[in-house]
């Protein structure tokens, strides 16, 4: 059950032009830095990226935007990136904005074989346009559909050779639900340990969801907004 690959270059084999990727992280926290770098270097293009944010100009998914490798972003908030804005205004980039909780649940649903579900978020707003509206318990809800991706790429704190993952603090964010929703899911970890090392009660993502795992290197873990007392 060994799912270990050598590095990010080996991990992203098979990611082709035009594919849909889920990329974990919230802001710059918990993003798969090594895999993003490998994608930039691979030159793969016309990607649809499902990711809560789009990075900043020179980090995270911003690196893929710089190289014009992304055709479409499916996100909840994308405001931290001037190149993003330029491409969007120039019509070079499509954006599908989704309420954050709906986005997270659509990923979870994709992994859990639930093709669609109802949520109240977005009722009465432009998010509701074209969607089925249904009243439950007197309250209107929208029908939302599951998301899956050709590849999901997640970042964890610790992982084992079976692909079991443990996230750290708020770096969990979208990684856990996205890990379940990739046809192939790649995990990069700060610390890769042998199977049997991690406490089986404390696994956030069971290895069944992970097809490839590797020990990442040189994590920058950039902080978007340092705030201190």
């Amino acid at each position: 059950m060994n799912k270990v690959v050598k590095d990010a270059i080996e991990a992203i084999v098979g990611i082709e032009d035009g594919m849909t990727l889920m990329v974990g992280g919230f802001g710059l926290s918990g993003i798969p830095e090594n895999s993003i770098t490998a994608l930039v270097n691979s030159g793969v293009k016309d990607l649809t990226c499902i990711s809560n944010n789009a990075g900043v100009d020179d980090f995270g998914l911003g690196l893929l935007l710089q190289k014009r490798q992304i055709k479409k972003m499916i996100s909840s908030y994308v405001g931290e990136n001037a190149e993003f804005e330029r491409q969007l205004l120039a019509g070079e980039l499509e954006v599908d904005l989704i309420p954050q909780g709906t986005l997270a649940e659509r990923c979870r649903a994709g992994g859990a074989g639930i093709p669609a579900f109802y949520v109240p978020a977005g009722y009465g707003t432009e998010v509701a346009e074209g969607k089925e509206i249904r009243i439950f318990d007197g309250k209107p809800h929208l029908l939302e559909h599951a998301l899956i991706a050709d590849f999901a790429i997640v970042k964890a704190w610790k992982g084992d050779t079976h692909g079991n993952l443990i996230y750290r603090n708020t770096a969990n964010n979208f990684n856990q639900s996205m890990a379940t929703a990739g046809k192939i899911t790649i995990a990069e970890v700060e610390e890769l340990v042998p199977a049997g090392t991690l406490d089986p009660n404390q696994i956030h993502t069971p290895g069944i969801y992970i097809q490839r795992i590797f020990q990442g290197t040189d994590y920058e873990k950039r902080i978007e907004r340092i705030t201190e007392r």
């Binding site: 405001g79 649940e105 708020t170």
Partner: protein
Amino acid sequence: MALTKEQIAQRIARELKNGYYVNLGIGIPTLVANYIPEGVEVVLQSENGMLGIGPFPLKGEADPDLINAGKQTVTVLPGGSFFDSSASFGMIRGGHVDLTVLGAFEVTDKGDIASWKIPGKMVKGMGGAMDLVASAKNIIVAMQHTSKDGQSKLLKECTLPLTGVARVKKIVSDLAVIEVTDDGFRLLERAPGVTVEDIQEATEGRLLIEGDIPEMQF
């Protein structure tokens, strides 16, 4: 005198009750954490996946794996917990958060809220605002009563794209505390030195003024 942002936060903090789980939005709502009254214990939720937000870290102790929904570095208090985004919004959507405080561009006398998009300006996205607005048990909006050029932001109908419909319960602006009722805005309190007439003039939506309107004390 209109309230400062700090005073808006301070006034909102008085709405907190012991035992509340509270989600504080970005901007003025974040400041509410600085004014939690003595003897009131609340737990702050951050929709990116934590309960028990503590103060900003000490200098040099910022942790890239520990941020709030505004992407600021924070700390976690004893009894806190971390969880993934779908669990976090399950918490919000399921009505387990007692109070949500957020900012707004416009609010109507029916409780509609516009807070995420200004046509012609760069679209940044709604983030978690629509989820919070649609599902919160109780929403207080922290906002300026009027725009810089004096236009009311407490309206009959929003002019900007909506974040949610008929969801806002209370507004604390720089001029007043207002409850959203079935009959419209109900004026509850005035900022110090601000008259009922000032508030009426700054409010386009239907404003109910019943009896004596007390002045806020700071």
